[in-house]
Symmetry: C2
Amino acid sequence: MEATLVVQKYGGTSVADVAKIKNVAKRVLEAKKKIDHVVVVVSALGDTTDQLAGLACQITKSPPEREMDMLLSTGEQVSMALLAMALKEMGQEAVSMTGQQVEILTDTGHTRAKIRHVGARRVIQELRKGKVVVVAGFQGVSSEGEITTLGRGGSDTTAVALAAALHADYCEICTDVEGVFTADPRIAPDAHKIDRISFEEMLEMAATGAKVLQSRSVEYARNYNVPLYVRSSFNEAPGTWVKSEGEIMERPIISAVTHDFSEAKVTVIGVPDKPGAAADLFGSLADANVNIDMIIQNVSDHARTDISFTVSKEDLQKVKEVSEKLVGSIGADGISYDDKIARITLVGAGMRTHPGIAAGMFKTLADNKINIEMISTSPIKISCVVGMEDGETAVRELHKYFNL
Amino acid sequence: MEATLVVQKYGGTSVADVAKIKNVAKRVLEAKKKIDHVVVVVSALGDTTDQLAGLACQITKSPPEREMDMLLSTGEQVSMALLAMALKEMGQEAVSMTGQQVEILTDTGHTRAKIRHVGARRVIQELRKGKVVVVAGFQGVSSEGEITTLGRGGSDTTAVALAAALHADYCEICTDVEGVFTADPRIAPDAHKIDRISFEEMLEMAATGAKVLQSRSVEYARNYNVPLYVRSSFNEAPGTWVKSEGEIMERPIISAVTHDFSEAKVTVIGVPDKPGAAADLFGSLADANVNIDMIIQNVSDHARTDISFTVSKEDLQKVKEVSEKLVGSIGADGISYDDKIARITLVGAGMRTHPGIAAGMFKTLADNKINIEMISTSPIKISCVVGMEDGETAVRELHKYFNL
């Protein structure tokens, strides 16, 4: 794709050590030969962020979030400085910038701040001088002058936000895989790389277990219509374009099968079928900062119903504390938990106009004697919760059945 | 000493790991019980700064200084966040601040920036709320909004500058030794801790090899009359006060013997005895950013003279390159180098009024068959350059002779 300004983002595994940083510098140089202006967003070296968080945990079980941001934001500052040095060493003028210097202005939500505005005045000045600008991912500055971080996958969000602010032609997400695949190749060996996919499909994939991109950055890219190009940091193989649906001409009915083994199922049994019960339950969980995923409530012919939902296993302890208190107050009969589940999802924009996809999915699972515990749909996806032991088979068989 | 506001500084060895950071937090808490307002300045954990510099050196032999500052300033940011967490965990409200947030405004001399102004408005606000303020040492921000660092020992300078700006009662330098000693105890086993010493003497000691404080921070303390209290981070033993001379009542003639084995001697032989020769030589060395220490030129009865000077061994290669070019142009006969020297110095404010100290020093060296290669004096010190192999004996014998 012809371009005059591109934002490239390199994740932690792409800058894990000095040799890899030099490799990234080489790739940036290659890009700079073809593209007038290149901005590079970097994550922290390898597992630096986890190491820093580990230090904090040795000091306190509940680190103050403001100090956590002070601590974690150093990781990206190290990698951006080293990459700028590597570029200069190769003869390319470069300058590194912190979130503050780039004016990545966020709210005050430490450890999961949201970007409010990207100024980037100085980025533009430096680009005009012919420099490559290397930006620390994951970090911003709040209206109070505090260093904030953007939460998991925050560097992707930095890159997309910067691409939007700079009206970049596209944002290149350079990572440790070659693109977006029709399924996880470790589970479905005949999975293959997708050439193009829509923002909406990518969002569903990210939300249902695809790790390659974080939902937030895809949402940001969709909202500002910034094309994403996901590719490997380590080879030259073509990657995957993520674009608005209108720009994608030929499109399969099903784009991918995703899986998520990280959730648990919670069922509140015998909830009185009256207004307010669900509101009480999910209101309390929201107050406890628990992200709920699928929620299923069946119409019941009695005065009572069961409500099931899925949550991240990490949050299960919190959910137990909150829900068990509520069972009494909302007058439910009890509560049960299952953390041995797998959520398998078919994603495809073509589903809208092709009835029968759901039926095909259920038949495939039934043919393989896989019991479906929960079902949830959207116009472009169908998710089934099955037993964890059936998860990989489900992915493989669905991938085969739909000829991905 | 009664106090309402104290700045404490903890060096890298005092915050080398999580256990040591917790120890520092305990000491800060103890101080906070007795003192209304406590500000803490921290260095990077252990040898973090060297490790980061090592990464840069793997990338380029001459890292751009601006990027070096970006890189190195992360070290202090990590320790300040961890210490603030440790204080909160112990129930003490605390907030960490970067050089920028503290408004440590510097010039643009990256890697060796000079402090121009300390704002500290937010420090005062936070102190008023009863918080301990933890400040990243070694770093500042330039008028261009760039992160700068203050060079070797910069955290001491941060602490003293902050103490001056806040009108602190004193600045406590907490380190891995118990104070300032009459000589290095590893060389002179009967060396003992000095209770009080003047800024001027401390300056001479720092300039002639005492490692405990950096010259710059002592100079800053003298200029703003900030008393320094040097003590151990690891025990409760009383330390050394460094104050203005007027405040020190009883004072020995000689305060300490210092040594410096890190220098080399350069002699330019047969320099024509005419105006401008020395100016050419030292002008060129200054242009090459070489710090010259002692300079000795003897009056000669011929038309030619020898000029000797000492430089840090680290700079010797640069000196060779610069000087050898100059030998021809200034018409000197040649140049010689000696990197096996030791500089031994007697420091004492009482010298001013006690003649005969120099004679005693020369006699002691002569009695021990130690040849003196160079001599340099100031009102409160006498330095002799001797052969490196005689250095330790010289320290020991002088310490004994002057009854330190």
